[in-house]
């Protein structure tokens, strides 16, 4: 790991917007530092704003207040330096696997041969050799997500942002993909900010877990996961950390449910 450089620096981030129901404060004084090569999970109940944080870092949404810096520069707009993987895969259906992966390179006008080299390596890395010319509709969910990861990696981003990427997959595929993700990550050590619902997933994947409060979202607790990878889901340490995180989370879940039920 290269140094302890802070890659993502979020301070006093706030986000609010107005709906028919009135003013909604999604984030209130959210703060986080992510260092280079770290794998950080954002965990929290529905509506806590974890996806909002991710999208603001990605530059897809605007913040209402505070500062969000990536590599020292304030985030203004989306860009290939912050690659993103979406829960819905977001692959371009009219493009083949290879063409999807090469999209960002095309945008940068990278010449064809160079593009082919890059995509070839990535296809192999994510384990899709042989499927270069397949179209997304021919792929399973897990395979689609592999393409999405490769696509984001093709631009050699500073940061990889992942928004519940395995949420649409069945349990078995999900476990498999978690393992695969770690394998890929060990080959390309990016800084990862990973949003999830699942405590199990967070404990399995992350160096640090950021537990968020119910809306308005802020950091409730940051829990370290100092276990060596690959992690054993049945080990005592694993279970202990999982219980701890779950404990923190349950209270927030209750709060979120209460908020949903009470008319505001």
């Amino acid at each position: 790991m290269d140094g302890n450089e802070v890659v993502i620096n979020i301070t006093h981030l706030s986000k609010s917007f107005t709906r028919e129901r009135g003013r909604i404060i999604a984030l209130d004084d959210f703060g986080l530092e992510v260092r280079e090569g770290e794998f950080v999970c954002l965990l929290g109940p529905s509506g806590c704003g974890k996806t909002t944080v991710l999208r603001i870092v990605a530059g897809l949404e605007a913040k209402s207040g505070g500062s969000v810096k990536v590599e020292g520069k304030e985030v203004r707009d989306a860009g290939p330096d912050r690659g993103m993987v979406f829960q819905e895969f977001a692959l371009f259906p009219w493009r083949s696997v290879r063409k999807n992966i090469e999209f960002g390179l095309e945008v940068k006008n990278v010449p064809e041969t160079k593009r082919a080299d890059v995509s070839k390596v990535l296809i192999e890395l994510v384990g899709l050799k042989g499927f270069e010319d397949a179209h997304p509709r021919e792929l399973s969910g897990g395979m689609k997500q592999r393409v999405a990861i490769a696509r984001a990696l093709a631009n050699d981003p500073e940061v990889l942002l992942m928004d519940e990427p395995f949420g649409s997959l069945d349990a078995q595929t999900r476990n498999l993909m978690q393992k695969e993700l770690l394998r890929i990550w060990s080959a390309r050590r990016k800084t990862v900010l990973f949003v999830t619902h699942s405590v199990e997933e967070a404990v399995y994947l992350a160096d640090r877990i950021v537990v968020m409060t119910a809306r308005p979202g802020k950091v409730r607790e940051i829990i370290d996961v100092p276990l060596n990878r690959p992690r054993d889901r049945t080990s005592r340490e694993f279970i202990a950390i999982r219980s701890k995180v779950l404990g923190e989370l349950e209270e927030e879940f209750e709060k979120a449910r209460a908020a949903e039920l009470s008319p505001e």
């Binding site: 990605a58 530059g59 897809l60 707009d77 989306a78 860009g79 290939p80 912050r82 690659g83 993103m84 979406f86 819905e88 977001a90 692959l91 371009f92 009219w94 493009r95 083949s96 063409k99 999209f103 960002g104 095309e106 945008v107 940068k108 179209h135 696509r151 984001a152 631009n155 942002l161």
Partner: protein, 284 residues
């Protein structure tokens, strides 16, 4: 050549059930037609029945008579309706459809994209579209024939008929672009114009193709009706209209069959173009 026949015969064999069903359906239709015609004129197998008046059953000739009339219309019978062969009428109608269609395509696609992506453009265009769209193109026939004269009149009618389906479908497609695809494109470094070319356009293409298919069908209806109403020089629609006035009903049906064939031709070609464009857009 051999591989083409091989793959075609493979296609036939693997789809034999569907092909058989289609063939059976056509056979049933033709049989019913024959029976109806025979019944009206008390021909075999309805020999004991009282025949209908000539003016009734003449309007439902036997289907083989229709096919024969169709064949003859190309060769030995310069159509008494127009003094021209069917081939010349086909050419006239095809020319009008092609030009009208091309003009509609050129104008409706950019307009649809614009209205689909820009709220302001939508606000400007919407009232005009909603005003003119419900007016059947045929209503314009008398006006257009006088204003645009014989050559451009029917073309203008086709234009109107084809324009709106394409416009509306393209607009819908442009509006329906999955926002997550746009998000993804943004995170991959694409700016607005690149997003338009690499995401909006390909996404809209299938909608465009639907618009084209619908538009082509309407275009054929318009041209035939315009030719029928207008007495404007030639064309398959005119052929039907003139044969009707002269009471030559086997020619009327022959003309209708001809239109069906031409429609299959154009719609089929449009479908093939659709696949080609799809492939082009995808591989691009």
């Amino acid at each position: 050549m051999r591989s083409l026949t091989k793959s075609l015969s493979k296609a036939v064999i693997s789809n034999w059930l569907r092909l058989t069903l289609s063939a059976v359906s056509v056979a049933v239709f033709l049989t019913i037609w024959w029976l109806l015609s025979a019944y009206l004129r008390a021909d075999w197998p309805f020999l004991g029945v009282k025949p209908y008046p000539l003016s009734t059953y003449e309007r439902l000739p036997y289907w083989w008579d229709v096919l024969r009339a169709l064949g003859r219309s190309f060769v030995t019978n310069p159509s008494p309706t127009g003094g021209r062969f069917m081939s010349e009428h086909i050419l006239a109608s095809l020319t009008r459809i092609s030009i009208g269609f091309a003009l509609a395509l050129i104008s409706a696609v950019p307009l649809g994209l614009l209205m689909g992506r820009s709220r302001n453009a939508e606000a400007v265009g919407r009232p005009l579209v909603e005003l003119f769209r419900p007016i059947p193109p045929l209503a314009w026939v008398p006006i257009f024939l006088v204003v645009f004269k014989f050559f451009w009149g029917p073309i203008a009618i086709v234009f109107l008929g084809v324009f709106f389906p394409i416009l509306l479908n393209v607009r819908l497609g442009a509006r329906s672009v999955d926002p997550v695809l746009i998000d993804a494109a943004r995170t991959l470094g694409a700016r607005r114009s690149t997003i338009f070319v690499k995401v909006v356009l390909p996404f809209t293409t299938p909608y465009l193709m639907t618009g084209i298919t619908v538009g082509l069908g309407i275009g054929w209806m318009c041209i035939v009706a315009a030719e029928m109403l207008g007495g404007v020089g030639g064309g398959v629609g005119y052929y039907i209209f003139a044969a009707n006035t002269a009471g030559l009903y086997d020619l009327v049906y022959a003309g209708m069959v001809m239109i069906g064939i031409l429609s299959v031709l154009t719609t089929g070609v449009a479908g093939l173009i659709e696949r080609w464009v799809y492939r082009w857009m995808g591989m691009k």
